[in-house]
C-alpha cells in the first residue's frame, strides 16, 4: 500500500497490534515504513553511501523502542524521532572512526622523505604508484588533506562536496591504499 495514500491511523493501529505481539500487523507496518525510512535516510546521509546500513539500524531501533510508543499519540512523530536520533547516532560513530582513521593512521607519514634503504624506497614507489592508480577525486582528496595540509573543510570546499563526504572519500582511498600495500608487502 502506498504510504502517501495510507490513513496514518492505520500505522498507529498496526503498531498497537504489534505491541500485543501480532506479527502480521507488524510485518505490514515494517513493509510500509521501510521505504519511507529509506528515503529519509538517503536524504540525510545518501552522499555517504550508508543508506542501507542506516535504514536497517533505524528499523532495529524502532523494533527495540516499540514499548515507548503510546498508541494514543501520533505514530509518525514517534517514528521520525527514533529515526532522526539513530541517524545522528550513526553519524557520530562514523565521525569518531573517521577521525581515528585519518588522524592516527597516516600511511603517507610512515614513509620518511629521505628514505635511503631499498625497502623504504620500494615502499615509497609502490605507494606513489598506488596513489596514481586511485580515481582522480580520491587522489585529489588525499593530496589536499595529507600532502598540502588543507583542513577537511577547505579540501571539501575545493571539491565542492560536504566535509563528511570528503572524509568518506579519504577513508575509502586509505582502504584501497592499505589493501594494495598489504597485498604487496604482506
Amino acid at each position: 500500500m502506498s504510504y502517501a495514500k495510507l490513513d496514518k491511523q492505520q500505522l498507529t493501529a498496526w503498531m498497537a497490534a504489534a505491541q500485543k505481539g501480532d506479527g502480521e500487523s507488524y510485518r505490514l507496518l515494517l513493509d510500509t515504513i521501510q521505504p519511507v525510512i529509506r528515503r529519509f535516510v538517503i536524504k540525510k546521509v545518501g552522499a555517504l553511501g550508508l543508506d542501507e546500513d542506516v535504514t536497517q539500524e533505524c528499523l532495529l531501533a524502532i523494533h527495540r523502542a516499540r514499548a515507548s510508543f503510546d498508541p494514543d499519540r501520533d505514530f509518525e512523530a514517534w517514528m521520525f524521532a527514533v529515526v532522526r536520533n539513530k541517524i545522528i547516532d550513526v553519524l557520530r560513530k562514523k565521525q569518531r572512526s573517521w577521525d581515528k582513521e585519518i588522524g592516527n593512521d597516516d600511511l603517507l607519514a610512515t614513509i620518511p622523505d629521505d628514505a635511503t634503504n631499498s625497502e623504504e624506497e620500494s615502499l615509497k614507489d609502490s605507494l606513489e604508484e598506488a596513489l596514481a592508480d586511485l580515481p582522480a577525486d580520491m587522489r585529489e582528496a588525499i593530496e589536499m588533506t595529507k600532502l598540502l595540509g588543507l583542513s577537511t573543510k577547505e579540501a571539501a570546499k575545493k571539491q565542492g562536496i560536504s566535509p563528511a563526504a570528503l572524509r568518506t572519500k579519504v577513508s575509502r582511498a586509505y582502504k584501497i591504499l592499505r589493501d594494495r600495500l598489504e597485498a604487496e608487502y604482506g
Binding site: Q19, K20, Y26, Q56, H63, D74, V82
Partner: protein, 210 residues
Amino acid sequence: MANHQNQFLDQLVGDLKPVTPIEKDGPALMKALSLSFAAIGGYLYLMGAFENVDLMWMNAVFYAQIVLIGMTFGICTWLSVKMARPEARMTWKVIGLASLPLLGMVALLVYGWMTEAPGGPMSMKRAHCTYEIFVMGWLPIVMLLGRLRKGYPTESRRLALTMGLAGVSLPVGFMHFACFYQPKHVLIYHLGPALVIVAIVFFIGRKLWR
C-alpha cells in the same frame, strides 16, 4: 538487496514479543509526584521536622522559597516524564526556564546570607542534613528511572539534568521545614549535596542514554 531487506524484516517479525506500552504521561507524573511526596514528607514528619510549621508560614521569604522549590520539583518531574518518549523534544531554553525557580530560590538564599536577613532559629539544628538530602534525593530519581525501562529518551543530557533537579528539589524543599530559614546552612548542607547529586545523575545519564 530486496531479498536481503526482506530477510531482515523477517528477523524483526520473528523476534517480536508482546510489550506493555509505556505508561501515559499524566498517570506517570501523578505517581512520581505523589509517591515521592508521601515517602519523603512522611519520613520527615516522623522525624519531627514540621513541629514549627505554623511559625514558618509567617515568614514571607520562607514561603517564597517553598513555592519556588515546589515549582522546580513539579516542572522538572513533568519534563523527565515527558522526555522518556522519543518524540518529546525539549530545547535547552525549556530546561533553562524550568530551572529558573531553583535559581530564584538560590538567589533569595544568597541575598539572605549577604544581608544577614533575620531568620528563625533552625527548629531542629540538624547536623545530618547532608546525608538525608543524599539518601532522599535518589527516591524520585529511581522512580523516574523505572519509567525509562520502557522509554526511549533521545535528549540524554537534558533528561539527566531535569531528572537530577527533580530528584533533589523535593528533599531540599522538605528539609527547609526541618532547618527553618538559615540561608548559610541551607546553601551549604542542603543545596551543596543536592548539586552533587545533580552532577552525578548528569554524568551517569548522558553515558547511559547516549
